[in-house]
Amino acid sequence: MSVLGELALWVSLPVAAWGMVLGFVGGRQERGDLVLSAERTVYAVFALIGLACAGVMYNFIYDQFQYWYVANYSSRNLEFFYKVSGLWAGQRGSLLFWLYLLCFFSVLAVWSNQRKNREFIPYVVGTLMGLQLFFIVVLLFAQVNPFEQLGFTPVDGAGLNPQLQNYWMTFHPPTLYLGFTAFAVPFAFAVAALLSGRLDARWIHLTRKWILLSWFFLSVGIVLGMRWAYEELGWGGYWFWDPVENASLLPWLTATAFLHSIQIQENRGMLKVWNMALVLGTFVLTIFATFLTRSGLIESVHTFAENTTIAFIFLTFMGSIIAVGTVLVLYRLPQLKSENQIESFLSREAAFLFNNLILIGATFAVMWGTLLPLLSEGFMGEQITVGPPFFNRVNIPFGLGLLALMGIGPVIAWRKASRRNLRKNFLIPVIVGLATAAVLYPLGIQHGLALTTFALSAFVMTVIVTEFWKGTKARARIEGEGYFIAFYHLVSRNRRRWGGYIVHVAIVLIFTAFAAEPWYVEIQQTMEPGESTEVVSPLGARYTLTYEGMSTNVRDPDQNLAWQAIALLSVERNGSPVGTLRTEKRGYLRPEGQQSTEVGIHSRASEDLYVILADVDLQGVVVDNDPDAQAATFTFLVKPLVGGIWAGLFVLIFGSLIGLWPSAERVRSTAPARAVRMTPSRHSPAPAAGD
């Protein structure tokens, strides 16, 4: 199986090259046989890379430690679940897995366009196979081959980093990769549009679901990563502006900008060059994110990568995408002229434009902060790093601007809005926003930025609820339907808009969770068993934490543990018991010397109580098993509203699914088709499937 997997990887190299060349040549010369052959390489490489992935999984499951990758990321006692996910635990496997997902989406793109949009397909295939070829070359020639052998077989592997042995961590990378790779399809369609000269809004129309899909996976992946950091890194935070976090945020920002700006092109025929630039830029940023995560170029908590020669290959690749993209856009510039002009700054297109400017501003700010260490070291010989204060200071105003626009945009009409209507529509939401601020201020919410966030959030929520209500009412009146039916039809006939509003609700939830940060309570306390500490939450609850005692565990090879010190605390809230929390420190057998802290979290809708075992006398407790050495230092954190982030994730998923749900027409139109033999095509010119 392993041999077959490795062989499949090698075979995929010429196949992908063949597909790339035949795709472009076949499209240029309009040769149907070449194009069909190229299309088949998409399926063939998907199968081959699938075999290669199966080979790596086989190596993990059957402990084939003669392979470098398995020896470094697994061990005999690793749980089966983590052996399977070993495929994406390290740099080498991740790259293969990335490639596999890219192959999967390529198959989906080609398969779903068997009988429509045919003039794009040769170039789409050529572009996608070119991307696949790049990753195959990297895997085979950049010293990251997951099938590389050690030349001897170790008795056991080095083990998987225990911090990666977490449920969230198993799903976080694949979700992000899904987002990154799904964006290759819009990119390929954009290139195809540039090459074929079909530069109207059709390529956007065809790929907007792909863009939404990619955006959806990126969002979910980012939030899952936050959840992992929150539970596993043991410092109580969920976002640290770490280079790799930033790297995943960058394409998310530009993809968000793109989701909004395509609506201007679809509705008003404007911003064509801008949209091209955004799709090319977003794709380059997805590659950049993969590269940052897996190259080890910038030190970060994510440097689970081990080789830097790959950095130069990636940089060259990104450079060539930018160069080719720029040349193509310049070449087609005359056809990318705007059909309209913005008529008024009081219009929805202007609001979208501001939204784009803010998102791009944030992108540049985050990129600057992320690359500064690298640039300063390269040009000045001294590494300058900027931390969370920089990112927060720069991005909070951007975030507030976006929040305000989320309320303003939906209420302004396309083209032109009159002041009178604005006054009428904004009156109630603005009053609600101001009233929120007026109520919160005397309650002690006097932090300026946080108060602004809460007031704006109330403003946006009012606008969204009013929109749903007014829309339903208008539809009921125009179509003469009952309110319930009218509401259903309202949403189902324009799912993109209403799904989008629901996603806005999710963003509001997440932003309010961020804004509660000034009220985080942190208390550090050294306690003997039996002692209690009281923590008062900013929302008024009183927690009493009693340290019940420490239990220890030494050398448990089944769980890969060298030692374990578990502190138990019982928790009372306002005098009534709500359960016990456990927090622990662990030392691992493999990798030797690795330690971790497991935190205890008591979650409520309003706030989280978060307990960290900060310090313990390991010598006394674990080695000597001395009952008098059980004194321990704890950090107690109360985090109001933090649950909004995770709740926001579910709302975001719900809203995105509304936008992504296939329309009835789309389902009906996917009839199977075959390539025709020697007969002129009988396909009627089918217009693009729409909504």
């Binding site: 046989d33 081959l48 045919r118 040769p122 009409a413 009159s418 006939r493 390539a675 020697m678």
Partner: protein, 142 residues
């Protein structure tokens, strides 16, 4: 054993990829009619904008004066696009288009030969008489 597996793998892949060249099987490369699709796109955009304008007016985002002006302009654009479509082969009668957009009716069977859209369940094309394949799923879905 491994050698045999390798040979089979390579053989299958090569045969699968080269078959179209040897058997001269072709993928369709039909380019959708530029002018037609442009007109369809223009019509689609104009009709969507009309829907939005209607909605904006009824939810109080547009003044009546602006509403009338924008609506007149958009209706002219939509009409021009429909006219262009009609001249392009008379596939779609203006009235039926409006009715279709208005009520979101299911499109009927499209004739493979002349593109005429027949009522649902037709067995022969009403325009050119070609026998229609029994196909419950129309390709048209704009």
């Amino acid at each position: 054993m491994a050698m045999a597996g390798a040979l089979i793998l390579v053989g299958v892949v090569v045969a699968y990829i080269l078959a179209p060249l040897i058997q001269d099987r072709r993928a369709s490369l039909e380019r959708e009619d530029d002018e037609l699709t442009d007109a369809q796109a223009a019509r689609r955009v104009a009709l969507l904008a009309l829907r939005d304008v209607e909605y904006d007016y009824h939810t109080g985002k547009l003044d009546e004066k602006d509403y009338r002006e924008v609506k007149r302009q958009l209706s002219a654009e939509a009409l021009a696009a429909m006219k262009a479509l009609e001249e392009d082969g008379g596939r779609d009668a203006l009235e039926s288009e409006i009715a279709e957009m208005r009520q979101g009716l299911r499109a009927g069977d499209v004739c493979d030969v002349c593109g005429f859209r027949n009522p649902d369940g037709s067995r022969f094309c009403g325009a050119c008489g070609t026998a229609l394949e029994p196909r419950p799923t129309p390709a048209e879905s704009a």
